[in-house]
């Protein structure tokens, strides 16, 4: 029996370390979009807590922690990252496997905010976008999901097919920031 070999979206593109900023690809495990049906928001949150120990995230927030995180992913939708989504959730929400749909990278370092300020049209400074905050916005011309995972680290998701452009855009921004010394 032939075996199919898996390849990650950013294979050959990352990691990058320029100045004091690093970009690495992360394997978030299974990604499942959870979209509660009409009036099922509460039930979905309860089921999520029962099955995975975290609440359905509030608007623009993420719950859980590394390894098992629920990221607010847009109007009436969250992305469960980590464990396979418990089948029982299907009775409350539309579940869709997105494990292969996104390129996932973590941008970290003292100047991570400065680098992202070159690409992202929202205020990502700690005072306005604290750890656990999540947003759907743009990275240059690409639709993206951005979550602050720590004082100096951000989780960024863009479409898998755009991984090369993401790496290119981040690299140019990192070089420009680094060159300012």
């Amino acid at each position: 029996m032939v075996e199919l070999i898996a390849k990650s979206p950013c294979a050959g593109l990352l990691p990058l370390a320029i100045g004091d900023v690093q970009v690495v690809e992360v394997d978030l495990g299974v990604l499942t979009s959870i979209a509660p049906y009409a009036g099922q928001g509460g039930a979905t949150s309860d089921a999520l807590r029962a099955a995975h120990g975290m609440r359905f995230p509030k608007l623009n927030r993420a719950t859980g922690k590394d390894g098992a995180r629920a990221i607010w992913f847009g109007r009436d939708m969250a992305l469960l990252a980590g464990p396979p989504c418990d089948a029982s959730m299907a009775e409350h929400a539309a579940l869709t496997d997105q494990s292969d749909a996104w390129a996932s990278v973590v941008v970290s370092g003292a100047a991570a905010e400065d680098v992202l300020a070159r690409l992202v049209p929202i205020d990502l400074r700690q005072a306005h976008f604290a750890t656990g905050h999540a947003a759907r916005t743009l990275v240059k011309h690409m639709a993206a999901s951005i979550t602050r995972t720590g004082p100096e680290s951000f989780l960024i998701l863009v479409f898998r097919s755009m991984a090369r452009t993401l790496a290119h855009d981040l690299k140019e921004a990192m070089e420009a920031v680094a060159a300012r010394g």
Binding site: M1, A6, S33, D100
Partner: protein, 979 residues
């Protein structure tokens, strides 16, 4: 002339640079203008029309005369203001618009012909003989016009864009700006202070005032030091705010490395900032205006404030023997500063009769005016009309002041109109012109240092109140100079000769008068007719003066005459900066399929399709022409098996009890009747009745569908579904999300497609378990995937989908197996021929102007239900049999090349717009049929099957007789797909 002990340049750091090929030495902190003036160089440029010799007029970004070109080749930059250009080692600046040299410019003959080159002369001539305009007049005019030149080489330096957010944006770091920043900063506000200059401090660096007993520049340095210590304050120098936009958005340009020869490795030359500010305080200062008198444009004649700036900030006196001419007390400072610095002041000429004694040693002429000047390449002498008669005074520099214009420009960027203030004879910003922005200090018409400091503090406190922050306690505003601003308007000194208003564009008082005579009396007409205000300074130096002259000749007041609109940018912005990040591939994201690398390895030319890249064809060594590859790949599918990556098609996953009903509403045909495990083709209309998109939708479960869209329309369809659901059908309980990126999907097409699949599937399939239009889950090499039996080629075919991580691996596997079966990979060219042979449409046919009726799918519009577009598709004009409708076309007799975009005519008629009956949309050579085929739209088309018409492509020089036929050229019964 450099003055010992004066100025803020660092004399321990000499810098070598070149101007016009001649080497000079300046000091760190010098601009090209200050360094040249220190060396006694006055001639720095030539004017636009008359090529008059020119020197600096100002000491800021408004400079209209001293424009130079720096750098060469890929980094050549024209029209650089010498007044803003910081010198650096190796700087090589050249003058512009002068040939053969700056001193001896052949085009200066224009100045002798000035009587014939007045305002708008070109509208009245160059009309005869017809055709000479493009061939003779225009080329000559174009060559004579323009300032500096681009090198023609692709830009080389990198630029970037960035976003910044703040509670308070302070624009300008003079006394008002600094005081505003200090007040807000001390209260803990989130402050961004931006300064256009390389040095913070504004006029404090150019004047000799004291603040709190300190030299102004020292107080500014101290304030900056304090602000640097505040974590809640960000300071940006070399940064010009160039535009104010809606809802607190400002554009600013930071000269990150533009003051160096080249940026460091990886660095950028400039950054284009998008700043979002809750509040803004505009403390942009004021711009001094010249006085119009005969020959007031000679090198050595500049504004009085500029003379003080060169003297006090750069320690460089623009002249050895200087005269000062003005209409306000402010001009007197220039004489005082010069004398204090030991520079000879020949005279102080004040147009006002009764003036307080200026406190100078030089001869003072009150109630006097300068009436003219001499000196070809630089000022030698001025003529003065004084109470006791006419005087000739030898000077090499004249400092003139017609008063100050507040820098109102940014406040006009949202259509705000400035307000005229008679007492200072100037326009000031109209409050509220930019929501959230207040103008303070000199740019609001408050000219004393004390007033500026106070206004900055007061404005900041207002902002703090709004932000809910406590203003800092204690007496904050330091003591400073507080002399009143006295002025009596003087716009133009009467005289016969030419008195310049717009220096660069050579617009004189005569031109404005003539414009008025010719009834260009509206200020907009005058501007457009004379070009006043259209030079690189956008009228910063000339608008108010020209307006005053126009008001005078038309017998109106200045406010009634009105003012032209200031628009962004405040100061010019390089296209490379405004468009940063787009050069090369950065203009739009690149989308790559999982088979991209393998396709490139196989030598496939990759073509762009809706941001994706797809293989055109897969050439083999023996092949010299794409057609050979294409025909071979078509053969794979017709005779064996071909593999093609179709992952770029949009895929949308729909779930929920309302899913079927939503599909019924967005598709013309029904989907609630579709059985689980089956696929159906669907046609989607726009609300105006024209076809939006088509594709297949599979039912994976009772409440679970997967829709496919075309590659090009994927985004549009997703937005459309959201619109239909949220806006039109909110009652439907359905959720959908794009899964385009989740699945790598490959078409496996051809008679041997099932054989290939069964070699890799864990559960073999056959025609009963997996008939035409069946779909379902499969296990393939231990991977869970999906299999759809659909066919774009018309052959027995499937589309197999696996999670994208396995895409590349599966593509290699499928292609290898296909090759073993006598087939292989096929690309877009073959895919297009295959679908064309089957008469399947693409966006070449559904190009936005065709209906279901036009493409022969009228029967697909269900009569049983409403759907998007159904009503409007029934408009009388859209169901007229005379419309251009889809047909097939094949050449008659010996095969002739058919092409897309050709027009269709009946045989033996003249080809006119009236006789053009339609056009072709797609065409190709069909290796299966052995001749060319095409699809096209033809009036009454389907009613004319079998008739012969002409297909004419003037563009490609092709013409052929073609037979009208059914669009399906191959296997019309469709047996092959089912078999």
């Amino acid at each position: 002339m450099r003055i010992d002990g004066k100025g803020l340049v660092d004399r321990s750091k000499p810098i070598r640079f070149q101007f016009e090929g001649i080497g000079h030495t300046g000091f760190e902190g010098d601009t090209l203008a200050s360094a040249l003036l220190a060396k006694g160089v006055r001639l720095m440029g030539r004017s636009f029309k008359y090529h008059r010799p020119r020197g600096v007029l100002s000491a800021g970004s408004e400079e209209p005369n001293a424009l130079v070109t720096i750098g060469r080749g890929a980094v050549q930059e024209p029209n650089v203001r010498a007044t803003m250009l910081e010198i650096h080692d190796g700087l090589d600046a050249r003058a512009q618009n002068a040939w053969p040299s700056l001193k001896l410019d052949a085009m200066a003959v224009n100045d002798l012909a000035w009587p014939f080159l007045g305002a708008g002369f070109y509208y009245k001539t160059f009309m005869w003989p017809r055709g000479f305009w493009e061939r003779l007049y225009e080329p000559v005019i174009r060559r004579a016009a323009g300032l500096g030149a681009l090198s023609g080489a692709h830009a080389a330096d990198r630029h970037e864009k960035a976003y910044a957010f703040c509670d308070l944006l302070v624009i300008g770091s003079g006394p008002a700006g600094l005081m505003a920043a200090l007040t807000a900063g001390r209260a803990g506000a989130d402050v961004l202070l931006v300064e256009e200059d390389s040095r913070f401090g504004g006029r404090l660096n150019a004047e000799t005032f004291q603040v709190e007993g300190l030299a102004g520049s020292d107080w500014a340095a101290q304030a900056i030091a304090e602000l640097c210590g505040m974590p809640n304050v960000r300071l940006m120098h070399r940064t010009a705010v160039v535009g104010a936009y809606d809802h607190g958005t400002y554009a600013a340009v930071e000269r990150v490395n533009a003051h160096r020869a080249r940026p460091p490795e990886g660095g950028v030359r400039e950054t284009f900032w998008r700043i979002v500010a809750k509040h803004a305080i505009l403390a942009a200062g004021a711009i001094e205006r010249p006085v119009a008198f005969e020959n007031n444009d000679r090198p050595g004649i500049m504004t009085a404030g500029a003379v003080r700036a060169y003297l006090n900030r750069w320690g460089a006196s623009p002249g050895r023997r200087v005269a000062v001419f003005g209409n306000c007390d402010d001009a007197h400072r220039t004489a005082r500063d010069l004398e204090a610095a030991g520079v000879e002041v020949a005279a102080l000429i004040d147009s006002r009769e009764d003036i307080a004694h200026p406190g100078v040693d030089c001869r003072v002429y009150s109630g006097a005016v300068v009436t003219g000047s001499t000196g070809r390449l630089g000022l030698k002498r001025i003529s003065v009309q004084a109470a006791d008669g006419r005087k000739e005074i030898e000077v090499d520099c004249l400092a003139m002041s017609g008063g100050w214009n507040p820098t109102v420009h940014v406040t006009c960027h949202m259509n705000g109109r400035p307000t005229w203030r008679e007492d200072i004879a100037s326009f000031v910003p109209t409050p509220g012109s930019i929501p959230g922005l207040v103008a303070v200090g000199a740019c609001a018409g408050e000219f004393s240092t004390q007033a500026c400091l106070t206004a900055g503090a007061v404005a900041a406190k207002e902002v703090l109140k709004d932000l809910g922050l406590k203003p800092p306690r204690g007496a904050l505003v330091p003591e400073a100079e507080d002399t009143p601003y006295r002025i009596a308007p003087l716009w133009a000194v009467p005289g016969k000769g030419r008195a310049w208003l717009d220096f660069q564009n050579d617009v004189t008082v005569k031109d404005v008068r003539q414009a008025a005579v010719e009834n260009f009396r509206s200020v907009e007409h005058m501007k457009r007719y004379t070009t006043q205000g259209m030079a690189t300074d956008q009228g910063k130096n000339s608008n108010v003066g020209a307006l005053a002259v126009l008001a005078d000749v038309t017998g109106r007041g200045i406010p009634e005459t009105g003012i032209t609109t200031f628009r962004p940018p405040f100061s010019p912005v390089s296209v490379a900066t405004f468009g940063a990040g787009a050069q090369g591939m950065g203009f739009a994201p690149q989308r790559l399929t999982t088979s991209h690398a393998e396709s490139v390895v196989r030598g496939a030319p990759m073509i762009e399709a809706g941001l994706w890249y797809r293989p055109s064809y897969f050439p083999q060594d023996s092949e010299t022409h794409w057609r050979q590859s294409c025909d071979r790949e078509v053969g794979y599918v017709r005779n064996a098996v071909g593999v093609c990556d179709v992952s770029t098609l949009g895929k949308i996953d729909l779930q929920g009890p309302g899913a079927a009903e939503l599909l019924d509403f967005v598709y013309t045909n029904g989907f609630s009747t579709l059985k689980v495990g089956r696929v159906r083709y669907g046609l989607m209309l726009r609300e105006d009745g024209f076809v939006m998109d088509d594709g297949t939708t599979a039912r994976l479960g009772p409440e679970h569908f997967v829709m496919t869209t075309t590659t090009a329309a994927a985004g549009q369809v997703m937005r459309h579904l959201e619109f239909v659901h949220q806006v039109l059908c909110p009652h439907l309980d359905v959720r959908f999300t794009s899964v385009t990126e989740q699945w790598a999907q490959f078409a496996v097409a051809g008679p041997k497609s099932r054989a290939l699949l069964n070699a890799v599937l864990e559960q073999p399939i056959d025609n009963d378990s997996w008939p035409f239009m069946a779909c379902g889950e499969i296990m393939l090499c231990d991977v869970r995937g999906r299999l759809f039996r659909i066919s774009f080629s018309g052959e027995h075919a499937y589309e197999v989908a696996v999670p994208a991580r396995f895409g590349e691996s599966l593509f290699k596997l499928l292609v290898a197996r296909a090759e073993a079966l006598g087939g292989g990979a096929y690309g877009m060219e073959a895919l297009n021929v295959l679908r064309l042979e089957k008469g399947h449409i693409t966006h070449a046919e559904i190009h936005g102007r065709t209906t279901a009726f036009d493409i022969g799918f009228a029967r697909m519009v269900s009569g049983k239900k409403d759907c998007i577009g159904k009503t409007m598709a029934a408009r009388e004009g859209l169901v007229d049999p005379g419309r251009e409708r889809l047909v097939g076309l094949k050449s008659v007799g010996e095969d002739a090349t058919l092409s897309a975009g050709a027009h269709l005519f009946d045989t033996s008629v003249a080809m006119t717009p009236e006789t053009s009956l339609g056009y072709t949309t797609s065409a190709a050579f069909s290796p299966t049929l052995g001749h060319h085929i095409a699809l096209g739209f033809l009036q009454h088309g389907p009613d004319r099957l079998g008739e012969v018409i002409r297909c004419v492509d003037h563009m490609r020089g092709l013409e052929a007789e073609v037979e009208i036929c059914d669009p399906v050229f191959f296997d019309p019964e469709g047996g092959r797909a089912r078999g």
